[in-house]
């Protein structure tokens, strides 16, 4: 019970920290906070700026601003983007669905691929094929994700013409979406798999030296069934933690992949926001991404409790 309280406290603290960061950044950074809140490239006269300052409450004390900010957040009001001429919350709502779909599919694919290959490579680490596999995945994990995306785009879309260059679909049918998503999802899945692979391999190498694996062998089980019935369950526990911790990392990898493939998701939104110095959109995007990652972490904690009975049982 104490552990649950501690976890909840930590999540609450993370949430608070994220919100506070988001509140404090435009006000603490060098430059005029009004400029920081509306975006740098927006040209307004001095009088309008004073008006905005009063309207946003920037002349009031900080704690009042903070309560007002929390109030706005509860109403899903993330500010107004003067570049896109629409509320930030609306812009984000349009974009995040696609990105979540993209990240979700590639994380799941990557986890499955990485776990299975990693388990196999860890079971027989000395064979030549597995060593090659290991080096291949190390190389993949050392490549910046967008470079991999660039290479794939160059080879498969430009040279061979197998896949379209950009966008989610030509016509909104499942086939078209799948055709467009194939390359980006493959890149992201490979990237995610490379991280899972290395952890899984190490974990299986460690687990197969345990006594229960020896006992299973003494009982006369086949190699494959030892691996898949006994070892893999214990070895995949670190993967769940890693998946949660990595979710943020993969999410950011997805942003870059989106930019390369010109997918209309969060990544291109953030790219345009950086180019136009559109701070409200950037902040909103950070808040949404951070909260998504937080949720993914919670989910992983729950999953961990389901997968590992030792966590559930009070000790």
């Amino acid at each position: 019970m104490r552990k649950v309280v501690k976890k909840t406290l930590r999540y609450a603290a993370s949430f608070l920290l994220i919100v506070t960061l988001n509140f404090a950044l435009p006000r603490l950074m060098p430059g005029d906070p009004v400029k920081n809140l509306i975006g740098e490239d927006v040209y307004v006269s001095e009088a309008v700026m004073e008006e905005l300052r009063i309207e946003m409450g920037l002349n009031r004390p900080l704690y009042e601003q903070f309560t007002a900010y929390i109030g706005d957040l509860l109403m899903f009001d993330l500010g107004y983007s003067y570049h896109l001429h629409s509320p930030v919350a609306e812009v984000l709502r349009e974009r995040i669905g696609w990105t979540l779909l993209f990240v979700g599919v590639s994380v799941l694919l990557g986890a499955a691929l990485g776990t299975l290959l990693g388990a196999y490579a860890g079971w027989k680490p000395e064979t030549k094929a597995n060593r090659l596999l290991c080096y291949g995945f190390i190389t993949l994990s050392c490549t910046p994700p967008y470079f991999l995306a660039l290479l794939c785009l160059h080879i498969f879309a430009f040279k061979l013409g197998l896949f379209p260059f950009k966008g989610f679909y030509d016509v909104p049918t499942l086939g078209s979406v799948m055709h467009h998503m194939f390359l980006p999802v493959t890149v992201m899945a490979l990237f995610s798999a490379s991280r899972n692979f290395l952890i899984m391999r190490g974990s299986v190498i460690q687990e197969k030296g345990q006594l229960y694996a020896l006992y299973a062998r003494a009982k006369g089980l086949y190699d494959i069934s030892i691996l898949f019935r006994h070892v893999i369950k214990n070895a995949s526990l670190p993967i769940i933690t890693l998946l949660a911790l990595d979710f943020g990392f993969l999410f950011s990898g997805a942003l870059f992949t989106e930019i390369v493939f010109s997918l209309n998701g969060m990544g291109t939104l953030i790219y345009d926001a950086i180019m136009g110095k559109d701070y409200p959109v950037l902040q909103g995007a950070f808040l949404v991404i951070a909260l998504t990652v937080l949720l993914a972490n919670m989910l992983a904690d729950l999953l961990y409790a389901i997968a590992d009975p030792r966590v559930r049982r009070p000790t």
Partner: protein, 305 residues
């Protein structure tokens, strides 16, 4: 002595013995030490390090010298020229220094912070430990790259802010590792006896615990360098890098945004990408090598002295 000389003259081909005898330098000892690392990684790393230290020896031109722009590779320009007519090969060679500097500097910062937090929370335990580790967990859940993107957008891009931000945001895993090792070390005999003799906690941490942490810190340091380099290229790709200091990431970003990709100039964007991958890989391989050795030591019980 005479016998030795005769023996050596008979076996002149064994130059290792020869060097060992005359120069008082046992090559085999170094070779044994070398075997413990990942040799491929070490050689690659040495190659990039030399490039970074002495770029002027290898680069055919200065990176700011201008020629005809958008030229294809030829014998004059081995990798062609970019949009403003700089020689790409020279740019590539000069970029090594900047990319590696960002990686190492920010890894230094993060290792230092992680070391201090991990050491304090592992040594003092109790409430301080709970607080510090709670804080570490909280920071760990915040996605790094988006936060760095925001910070980079607000602060004006320069290489120093990049180093500082990357260093300040990636110390958590180091802190955790240091803490768990410190927890283990503080129960060992020599730490206990040092405490009995009345040394201050600070002294014990510095002179008894810290030397035993180095072999856990080194691989973590290498891996932190590798990930900082990848983060740097990613940020440069978004245009948040320092344009006056052309790192590999900025080269890639320029190739993408200034027409290298559309014009199918593979010689512009593939070499920096491959350089980043190889350099990061060499550093990561050295890190993995350290870690592997560490595990072997644990198995043999070297730590349990």
């Amino acid at each position: 002595m005479m016998q030795r000389e005769v023996y050596l003259q008979k076996n002149t081909r064994q130059w290792k013995d020869f060097i060992a005898n005359y120069l008082d330098l046992d090559v085999r000892k170094y070779k044994r030490a070398l075997k413990k690392f990942n040799r491929g990684g070490l050689f690659l790393f040495a190659f990039f390090l030399i490039l970074a230290l002495f770029p002027s020896l290898f680069a055919p031109y200065s990176p700011t010298e201008r020629f005809i722009s958008y030229e294809a590779p030829s014998t004059v320009h081995l990798l062609g020229t970019n949009d403003i007519g700089n020689d790409i090969l020279s740019e590539l060679i000069y970029g090594a220094r900047i990319s590696m500097m960002v990686g190492f500097a920010s890894a230094c910062i993060s290792t230092l912070i992680g070391l201090m937090i991990g050491l304090c929370s592992g040594y003092f335990r109790g409430t301080l430990d709970e607080l510090l580790m709670g804080f570490t967990d909280v920071v760990l859940t915040i996605p790094k790259i988006p936060l760095i993107i925001i910070l980079g957008a607000f602060l004006h891009p320069s290489i120093w802010t990049l180093i500082l931000v990357l260093g300040l945001l990636s110390w958590e895993s180091i802190a955790r590792v240091v803490r768990s090792k410190t927890l283990q070390l503080r129960e060992s005999g020599y730490v206990k006896s040092a405490r009995c003799m009345g040394f201050s906690s600070f002294h014990i941490m510095i002179s008894d615990i810290f030397p035993n942490l180095i072999h856990v810190l080194l691989p973590k340091f290498m891996l932190a360098t590798a990930s900082a380099m990848i983060s740097e290229t990613s940020l440069s790709f978004l245009g948040l890098g320092d344009i006056s200091m052309k790192s590999w990431g900025i080269m890639l970003s320029f190739a993408f945004s200034r027409g290298g990709f559309i014009r199918d100039m593979w010689w512009w964007y593939i070499p920096p990408g491959i350089c980043i991958t190889l350099c990061v890989m060499s550093i990561a391989l050295i890190g993995f090598g350290f870690e592997g050795r560490e595990k072997e030591n644990e198995k043999r019980g070297v730590d349990a002295e």
